[in-house]
């Protein structure tokens, strides 16, 4: 198991007389000193407006920002640094792709195919594309335990122009057959979009190996600060797109009535860049690289095995999706008969345990599986087996607190 807790100051927090047990990592992750200090160092010593000035601080901020982009490029194995665009988060990334690519490239009769389990960022955005272009949104409904079926794959047909999916669903916590989906998309000439919000922080995601056309992820779910996410896009596609936001450094020449735009990646980065966010993401990537994916995945797998084994013995508990630890990543959503998820979360919070409750920004999936709200635990590198055991122990008290016998 990894031993990194000393790096995370927030993990010493005590809530309601109990040590904090933070199990809401799919929502956001905690930050190690290495990331916190990188932000402080930038603001104390190198803060300027990047790419705009001749003075030392602008130059230093530019170097820090450009180095962060190069670090992301290596991290996801993009072929070119200009294929890495900084945005606020994965959601903004999906908005950029749907507005700047899909709304101008799709037409009536085209199909967009997504799994039913998608986050609203990869769903509401497509509803608008359909409204604007007349395209049709088609769902892959998955089987009862969250697996793709042959019927699902068959929905990717000759009319399909977009296949968009999360590498790991934030409700099911299962890895999707990404390569197969991307191959199917390319076989019919469609563009494949990989939402890496829940996978990039937890496993090696290599965009060239996947051959996805676009990929998005959020920095704050991998120890970076909120407000910095990434879009990866193949260069030819990005060059063929309209800018998303206008103004600032994204211009080439501006005249009274017309403007030509800057080259990639600047074309998509309007306004003063979030340098501290980029620097934080760079530090987070360095931190993950030091640990190594093998150790990270082994650590999270051990927590999942322990949690699933323990949860099997909690009466009246139902896990959403597969219960096979080899299919599950560190995201486990569940319901408890007779107790609404908000009540579960409130009771666990009184023991210092932070979990997510609600629809997890995936309402159509909740409606599809008749679990409008559910509970969700999610792990990261600093969680321990002892925390999992403590969570199971307190989970068993929840129904009793609500007046049930067991």
């Amino acid at each position: 198991m990894l031993n990194v807790r000393k790096d995370f100051p927030i993990l010493t927090k005590v809530h309601n007389g109990h040590p904090l047990v933070y199990l809401d990592n799919a929502a956001t992750t905690q930050k190690p000193y290495q990331v916190i200090h990188a932000i402080v160092d930038l603001l104390e010593h190198h803060n300027g407006n990047p790419h705009r000035g001749a003075h030392i601080l602008s130059v230093e901020a530019s170097v820090a920002y450009d180095e962060a982009r190069e670090a992301v490029c290596r991290f996801i194995n993009a072929a070119h640094t200009e294929e890495v665009i900084f945005v606020r988060n994965a959601t903004e990334g999906m908005n950029l792709i749907t507005r700047s690519y899909a709304e101008t490239h799709l037409k009536k009769g085209d199909k967009i195919v997504i799994p039913i389990s998608e986050h609203h960022a990869n769903l509401v955005t497509w509803q608008r594309v359909c409204r604007v272009t007349g395209a049709e949104l088609v769902y892959m409904y998955l089987d009862e335990t969250g697996h793709f079926t042959e019927d699902d794959f068959a929905k990717i047909d000759g009319k399909t122009k977009i296949v968009s999916f999360a590498g790991i669903s934030n409700v099911l916590g299962m890895k999707v057959p990404a390569k197969k989906l991307i191959e199917k998309a390319h076989a019919v000439g469609a563009v494949a979009i990989y939402d890496g919000a829940q996978s990039v922080p937890h496993m090696k995601v290599d965009v060239q190996d996947l051959d996805c056309d676009f990929m998005v992820f959020s920095g704050h779910k991998m120890m970076g600060s909120a407000g910095t996410g990434v879009i990866y896009g193949k260069r030819d596609l990005l060059n063929d797109m309209e800018p998303f936001l206008l103004g600032g450094d994204m211009i080439e020449y501006v005249q009274e009535q017309t403007t030509t735009f800057n080259v990639l990646p600047f074309k998509f980065e309007a306004g003063t860049e979030n340098v501290e966010g980029a620097v934080a993401l760079h530090a987070a990537i360095d931190y993950l690289n030091t640990l190594g994916w093998d150790a990270i995945e082994a650590h999270e797998h051990e927590l999942v095995v322990r949690a699933l084994a323990g949860m099997k013995n909690v009466p009246h508990l139902h896990i959403i999706g597969s219960t096979d630890p080899d299919e599950k990543t560190g995201v486990i959503a569940f319901t408890l008969d007779g107790v609404h998820p908000h009540d579960v979360a409130t009771i666990l919070d009184s023991y210092g345990i932070a979990i997510r409750s609600g629809h997890h920004c995936a309402q159509p999936f909740g409606a599809h599986i008749h679990a409008e709200a559910s509970n969700r635990i999610s792990f990261y590198i600093y969680n321990t087996v002892d925390e999992v055991d403590y969570f199971i122990e307190k989970l068993k008290l929840v129904r009793k607190q609500m007046g049930y016998a067991d």
Binding site: N16, V339, H340, H342, G366, E372, Q401
Partner: protein
């Protein structure tokens, strides 16, 4: 709130389990859906009003124990009362939650709803407690503007 038994008191658990007010009405003059988009609590409130009196009221939907108990308590409280009196009680409840009225004597008219007084210590749950009450207020105000 340190002690969960204070939040999930017997009164709240009883009203949460109680199904007496949880159904649709055969006839109603007022219907309003109330919804907390961030957490998914979703109720539909119905009332049958005649000559300014609430003859009957009921709700359907789903949500946490706090939102369901609060809806049940509110319906118990307003049934048989005038619309004006119901509105006064809604405002008094909202003032209690906002801690604008804290004196127990002043809150006496709220009956079982006083059990939700300490929810104001739990910012994450306030919107659960006030859902039904806001929904009723919206419904009555919309009905008036028709």
């Amino acid at each position: 709130m340190e002690n969960m038994s204070e939040l999930y008191s017997d009164i709240i658990l009883e009203h949460n389990q109680c199904q007496e007010n949880k159904h649709t009405l055969p006839t109603c003059t007022l219907e309003e859906r109330g919804h907390n988009p961030s957490c998914g609590d979703d109720i539909t409130l119905q009332a049958d009003i005649e000559d300014g009196m609430i003859k009957d009221a009921a709700y359907t939907g789903h949500g946490c124990a706090i939102s369901q108990a609060s809806a049940d308590i509110m319906i118990d409280l307003i049934k048989g009362k005038s619309v004006e009196e119901a509105l006064r009680l809604v405002d008094l409840f909202l003032e209690m939650i906002k801690r604008e009225v804290t004196d127990d004597d002043a809150l006496e008219d709220l009956e079982d709803a006083i059990a939700l007084k300490n929810i104001s210590n739990m910012p994450a749950r306030v919107k659960c407690a006030v859902l039904a009450w806001h929904t009723l207020k919206d419904a009555i105000e919309k009905g008036r503007n028709k």
